[in-house]
Symmetry: C2
Subunit: 108 residues, 2 copies
């Protein structure tokens, strides 16, 4: 289960509107496309396209309910980014590693 392809995730997070949508879903929970549209300040088709990109990165899931589609954040899809930071964010790596060691000792 080690780190899926990071590229779609980094790509998806590169756009501020997309990040805003993901943030909204994270903070407020599941939302319809309609609700997200009034939040995002762009047209409904634009939101649908952003959601498609987020979907490809597995950062959101959707659930159809009648005529509406409910989207929710899937934050564990951020794992590739966390892994990447652990490997290349030298400044942070030590802290991550110390965390892991400590947690394992605690959990053990």
């Amino acid at each position: 289960m080690r780190t899926a392809n990071a590229n779609p995730v980094f790509r998806a997070l590169a756009d501020p509107t997309r990040r805003a949508i993901f943030e909204e879903l994270t903070l407020q929970g599941e939302q319809t496309v309609h609700a997200l549209t009034s939040y995002a300040g762009v047209s409904q088709p634009a939101v649908s396209k952003h959601l498609t990109v987020l979907k490809r990165a597995k950062l959101v899931r959707h659930r159809r309910e009648g005529r509406e589609t409910h989207y929710r954040a899937q934050p564990d899809a951020l794992a590739p980014v966390v892994d990447w930071l652990r490997t290349y964010g030298a400044f942070w790596r030590d802290r991550f590693d110390r965390l892991e060691a400590l947690l394992e000792r605690m959990d053990g």
Copy 2:
């Protein structure tokens, strides 16, 4: 000192060639544009442009030495991404928070 603008950083990390350059600088240390060019598999001007983007995100620093320019990674510029993950990566937030608490107790 809380979290500079995250956008240039996310943008910079969105391109795989740029990530590869940053990774190379992180793992191998300071490098000239020439060295990075043979590593990256694109033309020298392309590398220069990528370095400019990384520079704007403060992910790299450069140092002129005669006719060559040495670049090195500046991984603490990843801080905005880490902060963002702490806020919106709900799945990871607990671990981050536990880390902070533990480290503070240890350092104290």
